[in-house]
Subunit: 248 residues, 2 copies
C-alpha cells in the first residue's frame, strides 16, 4: 500500500508521501513516490502516486521523457497551458499504461491513483486526484484535501484539525500526525516521508525535503501526540451510568 | 458495513455496536447487532455481529432456539461448560449457515464475523473474534480488544488511549470517541449505539443500554472531541523549516 496526502491551503499546497512499497510482507523496498517538475517563475507541478510500482514508474518516466524530447513537447507537462491540461495528459498517459499492461494479465493488478498539484502562470494553484481510468476530480472549498492509498487511519485528524488558513508549519505537523497514526496501524506504509511545499504565486518549489524515522521533530510529534491525545481524552467529561436504563 | 468493538478490561468487558445495516446507500435500516444470553449467577454471553444480516440473524436465531429446545441443550450456549466451548459451537453454527447459503450463490456475499465475550463460573472473562470459517482468536494481554466491520477510522484512538486498568465510564467514553470518528467518516456506520457492560465475576449483565444521536452525553463528547483534538494538536511544537534541506 502507500499513503499520500495533498493539502490545499490558502497560502499554497503541501504534499506528503510515504516511501514503502511491498509485494507481500517480506518483499519491502523504499521508493520515492513524489516527483516535481518546474520551470522557475512559470510553473510547478508535483505528482504523488499510489498503486502498482511498475505502472507509476512508467507514468513518471513517460511524463518526464516528454519534457525532454522537443518533438513531443506539445503533450508535455512543461508546455500544457493549464493545470487542467496537465491533469488530462497525466490521466491519458496513466490509462494507456494500465491498458497496455493489462493485455498480459489482470487489469486490477496494474492499477494506480495519482495526486497532482501545482500552479501555472495565469491561474490559481490547483490540486487533482486522477483515477486509473484517466478521469479526475479537483479539490475545492468543500473538499480541500485528497488522500490516496491507506487513507482511513489518518483521516479523522485531518477532518478535525485541517484549516485552510493554517501555516505551512502547522500543515506539516498535521500531516506528520496523520502519517504517524497510519504507520502505527499499517505495515504497508513506512518511513521516510517526502514533503513538498509550494507557496501560492511563487512559481518555484518553496521547500522539498525528506523526514526520516530518526528525525528529531518527527519523534517529538510521534511521542507527544500519544500523550496529547490522552490529555485531550481526559479533558472530556466522564460517562455516568446514572442516566442509563440499567437492567441489573 | 458495521462497527463493533469489544474491550477486555481488568474489571470486565465492555462491548459496543452500531445499528446501521445497508444494502447500497439507499436501503438503510436499523438493526440491533448485539445479543446477550445469561443465567444470572452462572454465566453471561454477549455476541456482536458484522456482515450479511440474513447470516447474522440466522446465527442468533439458531443459537437462541437451542437454548430453548430441551433436546438440543447439550449444544447450547447455556450448557457449554466453558467460553471456549461457546465460541466453538458459535463458530460451527456460523460456518454451517454460510455454507448452506453459499450453495445458492457467492460465498463471500454471506460472510460474517462475530465478537463474543462473557464469563462462565469456574473461569475468567474471555473475549473471542470468530471468523466466517468458524475458527477464532482470543483477546489477551497483548491484544486486549477486538474490532470488526469498519475498523480503521476508530482504531488510532483505541490504540493510544486504551488502558486495561480504566474504569467502565472511561471505556465508554473511549468507545464513543472511536465510534464518533467512524460515523463521521463512513456512511455505513450509524447511530444509535448499543452498549453492554459486564463486571468480572458478577455473572449477570451489569449495564445494558442504547445511546441515541440525541443523547446529551454523546453530543458533549462528539463536539468536545473536535475541540480537544485541536487543543492537543496546538500543544505540540510547531514544525520549523530551519533544519530542512531547502531547495529554493
Amino acid at each position: 500500500m502507500t499513503y499520500c496526502v495533498g493539502l490545499m491551503l490558502d497560502r499554497g499546497i503541501v504534499m506528503m508521501s510515504d516511501t514503502r512499497t511491498n509485494a507481500g510482507v517480506d518483499n519491502i523496498s523504499i521508493f520515492k513516490k513524489m516527483t516535481t517538475w518546474q520551470v522557475p517563475g512559470e510553473r510547478v507541478v508535483t505528482l504523488m502516486s499510489a498503486g502498482n510500482l511498475a505502472t507509476t514508474q512508467a507514468l513518471v518516466s513517460i511524463l518526464d521523457e516528454r519534457t525532454k524530447a522537443p518533438g513531443e513537447r506539445k503533450s508535455s507537462l512543461l508546455d500544457a497551458p493549464s493545470m487542467f491540461q496537465v491533469a488530462t495528459l497525466t490521466g491519458n498517459a496513466l490509462r494507456r499504461i494500465i491498458k497496455d499492461s493489462s493485455q498480459a494479465g489482470n487489469r486490477s493488478t496494474f492499477t494506480a491513483t495519482i495526486l497532482l498539484g501545482g500552479q501555472i502562470q495565469g491561474s490559481s494553484p490547483r490540486l487533482f486526484k486522477i483515477y486509473p481510468e484517466g478521469n479526475f476530480i479537483e479539490a475545492g472549498e468543500d473538499t480541500p484535501f485528497f488522500q490516496t492509498g491507506e487513507t482511513k487511519y489518518g483521516k479523522p485528524i485531518l477532518v478535525r484539525a485541517y484549516d485552510p488558513d493554517m501555516s505551512f508549519e502547522a500543515a506539516i505537523k498535521l500531516l506528520i500526525v496523520s502519517f504517524d497514526s497510519t504507520i502505527k496501524a499499517n505495515l504497508s506504509v513506512g518511513m521516510p516521508l517526502d514533503v513538498t511545499v509550494y507557496e501560492k504565486d511563487s512559481f518555484r518549489v518553496t521547500h522539498e525535503f525528506r523526514i526520516t524515522a530518526e528525525d528529531e521533530y518527527f519523534t517529538i510529534v510521534s511521542n507527544g501526540w500519544g500523550a496529547a491525545l490522552k490529555v485531550a481524552f481526559s479533558s472530556l467529561p466522564d460517562f455516568s451510568f446514572d442516566d442509563t436504563e440499567n437492567v441489573t
